[in-house]
């Protein structure tokens, strides 16, 4: 039962998060920061998520190609 649950969890982790969990972490953090800027500071931060996505991608690619990921 525990093994089945583990492999079920591993499947969904691999399905959504994939090879680099840090890309997912950056995307979630950028979304949270966007919500904060919009709702607390009143800044329409539409530019934040695309910039975070490009930065996360560049960082992940750099680590993958330099063998650090």
């Amino acid at each position: 039962m525990l093994r089945a649950l583990k492999s079920f969890g591993a499947f969904w982790y691999d399905f959504v998060i994939g090879d680099d969990w840090q890309v997912a972490a950056i995307a979630v953090a950028a979304l949270a920061l966007t919500a904060l800027l919009v709702h607390v500071a009143g800044i329409n931060a539409w530019w934040l998520l695309p910039l975070a996505a490009f930065a996360a991608l560049a960082w992940s690619l750099r680590r993958a190609t330099s063998g650090k990921s």
Binding site: V23, N44, L48, P50, A53, A64
Partner: protein, 263 residues
């Protein structure tokens, strides 16, 4: 119908890529093992997938649109960045290109080696499970794309139509050629799908977080090309770095041989 066209096209391309991969596995099982058990495995997987869409699709639409866009947007952006990362690494030469012909040969070799065992009323259990797993795993990605795109646009029907057309086109072509669709530019298609998933995920995720995009939905007409340009830029830059590092690692004998030929 015109408004639903980008949705149908996006889902069509994404689902066609997955359907091509599923077709390779089904052909390997059917041509080397037995068609009856292969079709049974395929049908069982399609029933499971239809049940997931039938239950999850309408349930998710009950969520408020803002919450839906935030959660689905985040998932789609993460999923899209993962696709894009792999596609860029493939385009730059750091990762092997996905090749349906060699994937097919690997599946055929494994299928030929496995013993024929009848189980639970299925005459060839290996062919059944191979087809079931292949269609279910590739199909789950199709279901994810159909539900996220369909629910976010409040047009699940159009997304289902795009996916259904992709599956039918790939299946009919596969039956006609009776071989894996190796000539389809699958890696280029995967690059395009990664761009679309990342762009839509970013757009909906930010909207869910409360952002008002300049120009509303028209912002997508700028966002998609920008994501494409940045991704192509990364791929070009990495390809150059890869070539330079390979040239630097080449042994000096290779250099003198080349020199001899050119002179």
């Amino acid at each position: 119908m015109t408004a639903a066209l980008p949705l149908v096209l996006t889902v069509f391309v994404a689902c066609a890529v997955e359907a091509i991969e599923a077709l390779t596995i089904v052909l390997a099982a059917g041509l080397t093992r037995e068609w009856r058990s292969t079709f049974q495995g395929m049908a069982a997987a399609l029933i499971v997938l239809a049940a997931i869409v039938g239950v999850l699709g309408p349930t998710i639409t009950l969520l408020p649109l803002t919450a839906l866009r935030l959660v689905i947007g985040a998932l789609l952006a993460i999923f899209g960045l993962q696709w894009l990362r792999k596609a860029i690494l493939r385009a730059a030469g750091y990762k092997a290109l996905h090749d349906e012909a060699s994937a097919y040969l690997r599946e055929v070799a494994a299928a030929k080696a496995a013993p024929e065992v009848a189980k639970r009323g299925i005459s060839d259990w290996y062919a059944f499970t191979l087809a079931f797993k292949g269609v279910l795993l590739e199909g789950l990605e199709v279901v994810f794309i159909v539900i996220t795109f369909g629910d976010n646009q409040r047009n699940l029907g159009a997304a289902v139509v795009g996916a259904a057309i992709a599956v039918v086109v790939v299946t009919v072509t596969g039956i006609a050629v009776r071989a894996p669709l190796a000539k389809v530019p699958e890696n280029a298609l995967k690059f395009v799908v990664g761009i679309m998933l990342t762009s839509f995920g970013t757009f909906w995720g930010a909207e869910g977080a409360g952002v008002k995009w300049p120009g509303n939905d028209a912002a997508l007409l700028v966002l998609v090309p920008v994501v494409a340009l940045v991704s192509l830029g990364y791929a070009t830059w990495l390809r150059r770095v890869h070539r330079l590092s390979q040239a630097a690692a080449r042994p000096p004998t290779a250099f003198s041989e080349t020199e001899g030929v050119t002179n």
